[in-house]
């Protein structure tokens, strides 16, 4: 039996080797803003632990380079990522001088490169295994649970990003709630308006071009400008419409951010509803008419279920986009994780930036996985229905 080499594995192996040997694993900074000293894996972890981590990573790299069963590759990737997560936590404890509360330890380029390399390995194994949607959801839940347990165990508490967190834990969760409310609330509002609008555009072709072109134009306005432009009208409404101020409509803050996200969300939802409905096979509609379904029944029982995968794709686009755009709401006082990003940029405290950016990316990634799974499940639904 000859040893076979995986081409992609070679690329991943080279990236991982660079991350292990040529780049710094962690940085020790005298305080949260100053530049720090770079430390390699062996320097960052005391004695045998450093060499142990290197060995684990090297073993996983060898598995990546060889052509072995996919499950084995996935296991190697997960093992390497777990070793990295634990290793960086230990490094923080080991590097911080005892009794020094100003010193900060952050992951350095090497750590991120290694995470990237083994995440690639995991992504490749998963995309080649093609797990069914429910299994992908299980993967996501397991990963989330593991991250949560590391978070709760205090393994990372020596890291700079966690020190930024512990100083503002209450604010963090308040901003997190605001971020999610903004992203999902505007999505729900866009669905409530966008779905009927899309159905209307499908039934009345004359409206289609006008509505879609208008929504397209809105997309060309940069987000920070749209946030700003809405401040004026909303401030006017708050002053002149009785009861508006009482429900939280104000010129700055959450209201303009909510409206802006809502406006951006409309195009993908309306456009995908129109495309999805247009793709419903003629035969299905004819058959439905033939058995005497009313227009309403046809819409609810035939057209919408068949168009659902395309509509869900629109919702996926909107949700991921909104989670990203909601960070910009912080510029106009709308809250969300952007608060930490922009504070961090202002103070040149990069770990504070990470405190805002990492949860945003995780949230966007998680929702993309969930919705992709839902899309795949919904596109099977009609076939199952026929079989039953």
């Amino acid at each position: 039996m000859s040893i076979r080499i995986d081409k992609l594995g070679v690329v991943i192996g080279l990236i991982a080797l660079y991350g292990m040997l040529a780049a710094a694993f962690a940085v020790l900074k005298p305080n949260r803003i100053l530049q720090g000293q770079a430390k390699s894996i062996v320097e960052a972890l005391p004695g045998s632990i450093g060499w142990g981590l290197l060995l684990v990573l090297l073993a996983c790299t060898v598995i990546a380079v060889l052509r072995v069963p996919l499950w084995f590759r996935l296991a190697a990737a997960v093992a390497a990522l777990a070793a990295l997560v634990i290793g960086i936590g230990y490094a923080a404890g080991a590097l911080t001088p005892p009794g020094n509360s100003y010193a900060r330890v952050s992951p350095a380029a090497g750590f991120w490169i290694l995470v990237f390399a083994f995440a690639l390995l995991a992504a490749d194994a998963i995309s080649r295994l093609q797990p069914p949607p429910w299994l992908r959801l299980v993967f996501l839940a397991v990963v989330a649970a593991l991250v949560w347990s590391v978070f709760a165990s205090g393994l990372w508490s020596g890291l700079s990003i966690m020190k930024e967190y512990s100083g503002r834990a209450d604010v963090f969760w308040a901003e997190a709630a605001k971020h999610v409310t903004l992203a999902i609330g505007s999505l729900v509002a866009a669905c409530v308006i966008g779905l009927p609008l899309g159905i209307l555009c499908h039934r009345v072709p004359a409206m289609r071009a006008a509505v879609l072109n208008t929504l397209n134009l809105i997309q060309t306005i940069p987000s920070i400008a749209l946030f700003g432009i809405l401040i004026g009208p909303l401030a006017w409404i708050a002053v002149n419409v009785p009861g508006a101020a009482a429900v939280g409509i104000r010129g700055i803050g959450t209201a303009p951010a909510f409206v802006a996200l809502f406006l951006y969300s409309l195009l993908p939802i309306v456009a995908n509803t129109v495309v999805g409905l247009a793709g419903v096979p003629r035969e299905a509609n004819d058959a439905a008419r033939g058995i005497g379904m009313t227009d309403g029944q046809r819409l609810l029982q035939i057209e919408l279920p068949l168009a659902m995968p395309v509509i869900l794709t629109g919702i996926r686009i909107v949700l991921v986009q909104n989670i990203g755009l909601a960070t910009i709401a912080a510029l106009i006082g709308g809250g969300g994780f952007g608060v930490f990003v922009f504070q961090g940029i202002g103070q040149t405290a990069m770990d504070l930036v990470l405190l805002g950016a990492v949860p945003t990316v995780a949230l966007a990634f998680g929702s993309a996985v969930v919705l992709d799974a839902l899309i795949q499940m919904s596109s099977r639904f009609p076939r199952k229905g026929q079989a039953a």
Partner: protein, 269 residues
Amino acid sequence: MSGGLAIGGRGSVQASRGLVRIWLPRLLRALLLVVLVSFLLSPQSFEPLLKPLVQPNAPAIYNQGSLLTITLLHLRTVAIATVAATVVAVLLAILVTRPFGAEFLPLSRSVVNVGQTFPPVAVLALAVPAVGFGEKPTLIALFLYGLLPIFENTLTALTQLPRPVMEAAKGSGMTPLQRLTKVELPLSLPVIVGGIRLSVVISLATATIGSTVAAKTLGEVIIAGLQSNNLAFVLQGGLIVGALAVLIYDGLGAVETVLARRAGLSSGR
């Protein structure tokens, strides 16, 4: 989505309606271009229009730099990022569609999918520690965002070429390289341009966020407006970007149509 490019029908009434449908959008775009250029060359002459939006003693026209220069810098940033993204995305898509790179295809698809979930602000902010403030982090963010639509479109185009054409090219004894440069790329060009078009419009808007990390883009005008509560600044910054996006989108759409016609397809995707 420039709906105005439909061909007019037969008959005199329909023909004139077709003329209106073709020429009205073109006229509007030409008008938009004229307004944009004259605003950039002489912003002061538009002051009376914007004056009602600001407090009595506040400036109505951006006064911390020339709007024309900032616009050109904005366009330069977008252009550099888009050219780099096009080169890398097309090369990558060619690589993963060759037999040699086939192993990379599933991963490249999922990387593209995951890459889209990274919010632009996060990419910008994370690039700052690596390369410092200014234009560089903006270029990195725009490059990464520009990559995705172009890669996706090129991949779609190269994997969905008509089979008979490919068989004919193979049968006529073309080498793989000749097939790529003489058949595959020319046929894919309209769809690739479609990807570039999408990427440019996204980049034009995203570049404004670059001003939060001190890049010289039109975002500077908008942020100055947000900070001094000056709606006129916000509006002029936003509308210049919007107008640029509409004009460039339509311009590239026309290029796409011409290329599609030349490639012998009925229309671009």
